[in-house]
Symmetry: C2
Subunit: 196 residues, 2 copies
DNA sequence: GGGAAAACTGAATATCTATTCATTAGGTTA
DNA sequence: TAACCTAATGAATAGATATTCAGTTTTCCC
């Protein structure tokens, strides 16, 4: 079997898993269900993944690669710190907002055990945090951000806000666009709530 | 059996469940394990709770009652909006920081089961958000917070930051005090990152 | 102290599901 | 076409565990 056909089947299994896990949760989804939706036999799953958990991990890896890749590009491209921060906020909310099933998995399912979080997601998240922190540092260097702000703490604050926005959107069934909240969120993050 | 003794045994079961679930996760914890740690038989659990999930729900209810109760008191007591907000930040981080096991359950375990607990947990969270939003509104009325800030959105931002601080602390094994981060977090939230 | 009721016990049950592997199908080369 | 190799199948397995309930112990009150 050609490697592209093989990769395509792997993708199909991952897509099926995203759909099922988003709807029924990781523990509420059986390997059989994923297999049926992907149009393969149960055993086939184990030709492409080590076990059930590996499927979840692979969903995370695939999504995170895109996430960090695009954020990296924003940071590498020129521009002021404030502009970059606004772009990252928009990117984060848009990527989640584009695929609700994936968003559910990110905001809900990945939290389920310290195990999964600890092992991989946190190291990737740390990369992401470091990326944001670098933008904050740039802002401090440029003199547009408060010099007394701790860059990493500020990055965590920013990530926390984006994360909560994601969870809130996932759990409220409303048909709002998550990406449309980017501007007011950026305003709050950049301006703070206190009158200057 | 007297109702106080009965309540005490219920508490003991809940305490045991907090400890086990924090260490092994909800799905990694068996009813037998909880029973053993609480010093009762498996069947006894079912005299006090409808089923395993009900134990988790009860952990949430018990903790949230204390959480909202204390926050409510802060809001009811007099004082300026900024002072109240600082107190809420301190309260949130301190309560989590005092009991790491409970913090793990709040920051990690409840996320997975949000699926199941959606109705319950989100309605309580909404109460908490409304409470913070009222403080923001007070700040706007007093003229110390930006008038264009949406109170509920700001509340979500604030909650998101506190939540991420909690998760970050839970997942980093370091021996820092979570409560000690209250001031810098409040500063960032109140002042924002941009130079005024 | 005795008898009824309430509380408790823990082994048995009933069910569920991740994973394996003997077998079949499909494709490639000589 | 035949021989060979890779991929896929899905029924069987093995292990786990939430919940029940018939029997036992404790508590309560007269």
């Amino acid at each position: 079997m050609s490697s592209t056909r093989k990769a395509a089947k792997r993708e199909r299994i991952l897509d099926a898993a995203v759909l099922e896990i988003a709807r029924h949760g990781y523990y509420g989804t059986t390997v059989s269900t994923i297999a049926r939706r992907a149009g393969v036999a149960d055993g086939t799953i184990y030709l492409y993944f080590k076990n059930k958990e590996d499927v979840l991990v692979s969903i995370f890896e695939r999504a995170m690669q895109r996430f960090i890749g695009e954020a990296q590009r924003i940071v590498d491209d020129g521009g002021g710190a404030e502009e970059k921060l606004r772009k990252i906020v928009t990117l984060h909310l848009s990527l989640l907002g584009e695929n609700r099933d994936l968003a559910v998995i990110f905001q809900v399912e990945f939290r389920h055990t310290v195990h999964v979080l600890e092992l991989l997601s946190r190291s990737r998240i740390r990369d992401y945090l470091a990326l944001i922190a670098r933008v904050v540092q740039q802002g401090k260097d440029e003199g547009v951000f408060r010099p007394e702000a701790d860059a990493l703490l500020a990055a965590k604050v920013i990530f926390g806000v984006l994360d909560e926005m994601g969870t809130d959107w996932v759990l409220s069934r409303k048909n709002t666009r998550l990406g449309s909240r980017a501007d007011p969120v950026s305003d709050l993050l950049l301006g703070g709530v206190r009158v200057p």
